[in-house]
């Protein structure tokens, strides 16, 4: 039984692509045949984050328009078994993405893969709508910051009213909260929204808390999904989230500040 998962947020720059790359990699590492699809036509970036930018030949629009078949456009990851990437087009515009085209591609991918992770563009226009339209589950990526929480609320409204599941009156899209760039020290000082507050406001189950971490930039610099970075707190948090997603009971360990050594306690607020 294959599942379509959309990674969405409304707001840009909150970590959708980072999350898509890490999450898809994590699912593949657990043995699930996984494909991660970039829906950001015109502003493709998943290929860079996944480190396969030099191997892109065909893209999703080529497949929709019949210029290439799906097999030709899929890029197999070189580090992790069971993982493929379907890149977005960099030259066409979003109108080249059609509902029928996306439906046909997802139907074909469902036959061969366990999980199809759809990396949504920002906004609530065509690309974002098509990324979530066929979803069975949604990972809503949110920063603990007012504009991001508001936009997440808006996208939850779209999921509840304009997804295919909603239109056909089927079971609703299963929603998960992924709280990214969480700085537990700032939360303790009352400078940042608490995870409980965000969860209270959005009222959806918490899948993961990803701590603010320098390793996210380091990983993207090198084109490595952060989940593959050894010793990265963000990477471990994503691995935990994948475990929870497939049904394991894993406590959230990044809601409190990580213990610091004496030196950093002296020079950086451990109030």
């Amino acid at each position: 039984m294959s599942e379509v998962i959309v990674v969405t947020s409304g707001k840009g720059g909150v970590g959708k692509t980072t999350t898509s790359a890490a999450f898809a990699t994590g699912l593949a590492m657990r043995g699930y045949k996984t494909v991660v699809v970039d829906f950001d036509v015109g502003l493709r970036n998943l290929d860079l984050i996944m480190g396969c930018e030099r191997r892109v030949v065909f893209d999703i629009i080529n497949v929709i328009q019949g210029e290439a078949n799906l097999k030709q456009a899929l890029i197999k990851d070189k580090r992790v078994e069971n993982l493929w990437i379907l890149p977005a087009s960099q030259t066409r515009d979003k109108d080249a993405l059609t509902k029928e085209g996306v439906e046909a591609i997802l139907a074909e991918l469902r036959k061969t893969h366990d999980y199809i992770v759809c990396d949504s563009p920002a906004g609530i226009e065509r690309g974002a709508h098509l990324a979530l339209y066929f979803a069975d589950q949604a990972i809503v990526v949110t920063n603990p910051e007012v504009s991001s929480v508001r936009d997440s609320d808006r996208i939850l409204g779209v999921l509840a009213s304009r997804s295919q599941r909603a239109e056909e009156g089927r079971d609703p899209v299963k929603e998960h909260l992924m709280l990214t760039r969480y700085d537990a020290a700032r939360v303790e000082r009352g400078e940042m929204l608490k995870v409980d507050d965000v969860q209270d406001i959005l009222a959806i189950p918490l899948l993961g808390i990803i701590p603010e971490s320098q390793s996210v930039l380091n990983a993207s610099n090198q084109g490595v999904p952060v989940i593959l970075e050894d010793g990265s707190s963000a990477g471990r948090a994503y691995a935990d989230a994948v475990g929870r997603f497939v049904g394991e009971d894993i406590p959230h360990r990044f809601a409190v500040p990580e213990k610091k050594g004496l030196f950093s306690r002296l020079f950086r607020g451990a109030a």
Binding site: V146, R150, D153, G190, E191, L193, D197, R268
Partner: protein
């Protein structure tokens, strides 16, 4: 408290996370109600002006519709400026009034 905190000027700054939570709760409560409804204020303004224009001469540009969504009470404020009658109109009005008073 770290050593450096002692030297920070605004260490007593009020925590802001609570304000973020409270503001979000208010704005989202309102947005969820009208989530799929379109923005009705421009239509409300237009229809109101049409009704009022049937009775008094009004300048469409001199109408202000304000909505303030508060925690306990929300207010809809409509301010329509009525034009001051010109001297000529005032005279006619007086004449008519005199006539009707007999």
């Amino acid at each position: 408290m770290s050593l450096l905190d002692l030297f920070r000027a605004n260490k007593r700054a009020k925590p802001t996370a609570e304000a973020a939570r409270d503001r979000l709760q208010i704005v989202l409560a309102h947005e969820r109600i009208s989530r799929d409804g379109d923005d009705f204020l421009p239509r409300l303004q237009k229809e109101l002006m049409e009704v009022i224009a049937r009775y008094v001469a009004v300048d469409q540009k001199k109408a202000v519709v304000k909505l303030d969504r508060g925690d306990d009470v929300s207010t809809l404020e409509i301010e329509i400026e009525l034009p001051t009658p010109t001297a000529g109109e005032r005279r006619t009005e007086r004449v008519q009034q005199a006539a009707s008073n007999g």
